[in-house]
């Protein structure tokens, strides 16, 4: 998550205080990603240092300091918004590694491991979905965050379903399928 760019976006609306930026960031993301004060000020310091924002030099450090976007900051914000977020490199996903590891460990039933995670993920989805029941609390920013989270969890469940099906087929037709298929090719996506 780019807190840096989210802060630039908030400052594109006009000069703001540090505490105000923290509050608006949290509200604007449906209070799903709380930020601590230190994180906000260290990010603001870095942005100031890189020339993306500036502050009123006469004010003392602290909550009364006003920050504003510079031309460089504006350009950086537009560059960020107009370029695709890097999703080309597969993240080193702990669940995928866990399933692959389970295939190697004697006495571990990978199907149990898959079901354990499926249940856990559905329980998480239930919690997010139940938030949708309370329309009054459900503003647009929060709705977008909840949808994103539900889609992410759902995609993991879909992968578990696929993995289970693939493992079942591999059991039925073992010819040519080793228990642990070697990852011969490195997964380097083309850009």
């Amino acid at each position: 998550m780019s807190v840096r760019h989210a802060l630039l976006a908030l400052l594109s609306e006009g000069p703001k205080y540090g505490f105000q930026l923290r509050q608006e960031f949290e509200e604007g993301t449906g209070d799903v990603w709380p930020l601590n004060v230190g994180q906000v000020y260290s990010t603001l310091q870095r942005l100031e240092h890189s020339g993306h924002i500036e502050s009123d030099d006469s004010a003392e450090e602290g909550p009364q300091k006003v920050f504003r976007l510079t031309e460089e900051g504006k350009a950086e914000l537009h560059r960020w918004l107009s370029s695709p977020t890097d999703m080309a490199s597969p993240p080193r996903d702990e669940l995928v590694i866990k399933v692959l590891s389970a295939l190697r460990v004697p006495g571990v039933d990978v199907n149990d491991l898959i079901q354990l995670h499926r249940r856990y993920l559905v329980e998480l989805m239930q919690q997010w979905t139940h938030l949708k029941d309370d329309e009054a609390e459900f503003d647009l920013a929060f709705a977008l965050v909840v949808d994103a989270e539900l889609s992410r969890l759902d995609s993991v469940i879909r992968w578990l379903d696929q993995a289970e099906g693939r493992l079942k087929r591999a059991e039925v037709e073992p010819a040519g399928v080793s228990t642990v298929p070697p990852l011969r090719r490195r997964l380097v996506p083309r850009r």
């Binding site: 559905v122 239930q126 997010w128 979905t129 539900l150 969890l153």
Partner: protein, 240 residues
Amino acid sequence: MSFLELRNVSKSYGAGSTLVNALVDASLSVDRGHLVAVMGPSGSGKSSLLTIAGSLEEPTSGEVLIEGKSLASMSYNDKARLRRRAIGYVFQDFNLLAGLTALENVSLPLELDDVSARKARTLAMAALENIGIADRAGHFPDELSGGERQRVAIARAVAGERHLLLADEPSGALDSANGEAVMKMIRAACKQGVAAVVVTHDAHLASWADRVLFLKDGRIVDQTVPPPSAESLLAPTPTL
């Protein structure tokens, strides 16, 4: 007392080398006001579970109770009456009668159950109003969008005094916004005292339920525990 209860229900089709065990020793109970989802891949026995729960099929062994009454002890006519009066079905492809308006689709099952035509129309209109589609009452199914058709199907399933709603992939043919609307309606029906069972392969749908059962090769292998408060989502993510 549970409104719907399945006790050790098994269902097999065929015999000998063609024997298929669609359901194996499945137990399930649903109280009024609760939404239970049954999740599983194609061929896991979901539809068999639903048709047996709705008395559309007999189990090979085990028992189905509705309001504490065993279906096995009921006559054919009693079961038919129970299906008309107490159970509503929602299917993926809506199953509305093309030659009837939305209102007539909802009122027909009530009229078949000897409710007077006038009262049936009043009850049907109330059900359509409840799910916000009363303005489409006079339209035929082919004049309605997919989302509207499914709303009519839900109104038909809950109109009158029906307290058990059984749904098979109810939002399967709809886009995500309409799918969400359908699940909200089913939840709203539950809040008014309906017991509902939704079978689906889709986690998005299942996540609307109070409890999710996982079906695999005809067996209920697992279920969710009641979700804690959503506040816990904002705490640091637990690691498995």
